[in-house]
């Protein structure tokens, strides 16, 4: 039994990181993730671990590069504009094959946008985010408990694949206070970080280590193609082995909802409302936003299901769902334009989603003419 706590998602991320043995945190103030940075500032020095308030998000991500290169578990957190700033180094870390964890507590955009909740960074996060060919595993918590658990998983997967892992939260999940149980997760053994820089004297073979992001310039790979082949292999391995989603009431389903993060909580409520009226609705909740559950969605489409994506953006997840159904099913969207009020405090509420489920069920919209 782990320790029970009544805390918000942002704070749960801190306890998850401690359980995972995170040794260093680098952060810069930005709403709505300040609770994370402040938590680490408060707790990490007491534990003899490293906290640095960086001079910018560029500073945070490059310090993270340094700590990861030095062979310790380390992380940073930010929100959408800061996440954009970090992308050059995200790309460099994918090349350099550095394991680390980056938390993005999404806020609205584009640009300065509102500092309140939104889910508009899905495409940026799931396609790598920076220049060049690479992917990050993207974990999307939908509760305070998952914030704690998925951060631990993120550290394990980062080390397993020697690749950055993104935890994609949002302002509502981050500020949602729930009872959670902090328990250390065990995932199995990992190889030593023999490649890390610690000073030559610390290496058993006494030979120097070079951490770099060119791939072939200093002999890590024999050629540029060899580097790309390795990254390609890594992407395929992650797609094959690391897909995670929650299938909720989809055994006998005819209308499948797809959502992640806070809108998945909303969608689940709407599914329950629909089921209470005998409508066969179900939910596929993305736990990994990348890899994406193409196969289950395709299978459901081939069995005649209709789809409703619920996301607090103009439509990003919906593009992946449309790709997955391969033209076999119509895909509808409840978007940020369907919030209950037009200000930045507006939310997508279960009633709205339930209303759309009922319309689809009656065949008023979304009729498949195939």
């Amino acid at each position: 039994m782990g320790e029970r706590m009544f805390i918000e998602g942002n704070v749960a991320i801190g306890w998850g990181a401690v359980s995972a043995g995170c040794q260093a945190f680098f952060g810069y103030p930005i709403t709505p993730q300040n609770e994370i940075t402040e938590w680490f500032a408060r707790e990490f020095p007491k534990m003899g671990r490293v906290f640095v308030q960086s001079q910018s998000e560029l500073g945070s991500i490059n310090m993270l590069y340094g700590a990861a290169a030095a062979g310790v578990r380390a992380m940073t957190s930010t929100s959408s504009p800061g996440w954009s700033l970090m992308q050059e180094t995200m790309s460099d870390m994918a090349n350099a094959e550095l394991p680390c964890v980056i938390v993005n507590v999404q806020r609205g955009g584009p640009g300065g946008g509102p500092i309140r909740h939104a889910q508009q960074d899905y495409i940026q996060c799931t396609r790598g985010g920076g220049h060049g060919d690479y992917r990050n595993i993207v974990l999307a918590p939908a509760s305070a408990q998952e914030c704690c658990d998925l951060v631990q998983l993120a550290f394990y997967l980062a080390d397993k694949y020697r690749n950055p892992v993104v935890v994609l939260s949002d302002a509502i999940i981050g500020r949602l206070r729930e009872t959670i149980e902090v328990e250390k997760s065990e995932f199995g053994p990992l190889p030593d970080k023999d490649w890390a820089v610690r000073g030559k004297g610390k290496h058993k073979d006494g030979r120097r280590r070079i951490v770099e992001h060119s791939g072939d310039l200093f002999g890590r790979y024999p050629s540029y193609r060899a580097l790309l082949q390795r990254l390609d292999q890594k992407i395929k391995q992650m797609q094959e082995s690391e897909l995670r989603y929650e299938a909720y009431r989809i055994e006998d389903v005819s209308i499948v909802l797809v959502a992640y993060g806070y809108t998945a909580r909303v969608a689940k409520e709407a599914v329950n409302m629909a089921r209470a009226e005998g409508i066969k609705a179900g939910l596929i909740r993305l736990i990994t936003a990348w890899p994406f559950p193409h196969k289950i969605i395709r299978d459901k489409a081939y069995h005649g299901c209709k789809f409703l994506v619920v996301e607090d953006s103009l439509g990003q997840v919906v593009e992946d769902v449309r790709c997955a159904v391969e033209g076999r099913a119509e895909v509808q969207l409840v978007s940020i334009l369907d919030r209950h009020i037009p200000t930045d405090g507006g939310m997508i509420l279960p009633d709205k989603v339930f209303g759309r489920i009922k319309e689809i069920n009656k065949g008023e919209i979304g009729v498949c003419h195939g």
Binding site: V50, S54, G199, K200, E212
Partner: protein
């Protein structure tokens, strides 16, 4: 300069921490950057710190120095070495962490991490090669380009009404309270080489003593992008560069306060 470098190797031997360049020498004739790596190798050997040293190198010509030093090294995104060095030193406080970066990499794109590290008084050493141009990309104007200097982006010469004045890194850095040591050296003749060597040694010693951030700027020739012979480059350093960038120590304290 080529002659003097050979002479030094004959007299002083080759530092063991310098990796033999079996695949050919990557630097242009008359370039001073390899000398800065040689100084670092000599000093680390003398201090017996090769096993504890971690070098952090920027994108640019100096990234090739990373392959020449037989110590643990990290290559960073352009301009970010002080950020990496910050994290590595905090994570492994018993190491000697230094950066090597160009003038553009430290003072232009790298101004944010530099200012951050200076403000936090990180216990790291920053070494900057000042050759008054962007070398790898073909000789564009750098923050340190001299007034009137012709570069590929100032074909008429650096015009102060458009592009301002050269940045004096060593003097500027010396003004920060978190800095224990700031100096500017050169390697254009054996005397200056020896002085510069002392500066690097003092800078490393400040870090070993946990005194504060230490900084050394090294004036370097870039004959290729200056469009001069190596010999003329030495003259240009003597007459123009050192007139703008005086050599010496600008701060040297036992501890910061």
């Amino acid at each position: 300069m080529g002659k003097q470098a050979v002479t030094r190797e004959r007299v002083a031997g080759r530092p063991k921490l310098l990796v033999p360049q079996t695949a050919g020498f990557i630097y242009c004739p008359g370039c001073h950057e390899p000398l800065t790596a040689r100084i670092v190798a000599e000093v680390l050997e003398e201090m017996e710190m090769g096993d504890k040293a971690i070098g952090v190198f920027d994108i640019g010509c100096n990234s090739f120095l990373l392959g020449m030093l037989n110590i643990d090294t990290v290559l960073t995104p352009h301009g970010r070495p002080p950020d990496m060095a910050t994290a590595i030193k905090r994570v492994h406080p018993d190491t000697l962490v230094f950066t090597m970066q160009g003038d553009g990499g430290l003072l232009s794109i790298g101004a944010d991490p530099l200012l951050g590290a200076l403000t936090r008084a990180e216990k790291i050493t920053i070494i900057m090669q000042n050759n008054a141009v962007y070398g790898t990309t073909g000789g564009q104007m750098a923050p340190t380009s001299l007034v009137g200097q012709k570069t590929t982006t100032t074909p008429q010469g650096r015009d102060v009404t458009q592009f301002g004045f050269p940045t004096h890194a060593a003097e500027m850095i010396a003004t920060f309270r978190g800095v224990a040591y700031s100096a500017r050296g050169a390697v254009n003749n054996p005397y200056n080489y020896e002085r510069c060597r002392e500066y690097i040694k003092t800078a490393f010693q400040k870090q070993v003593n946990n005194a504060g951030l230490s900084f050394v700027e090294i004036i370097c020739a870039c004959p290729t992008n200056w469009h001069m012979s190596p010999e003329d480059s030495l003259k240009w350093i003597e007459e123009k560069m050192l007139a703008e960038f005086p050599l010496g120590e600008f701060k040297n304290v036992g501890r910061i306060e």
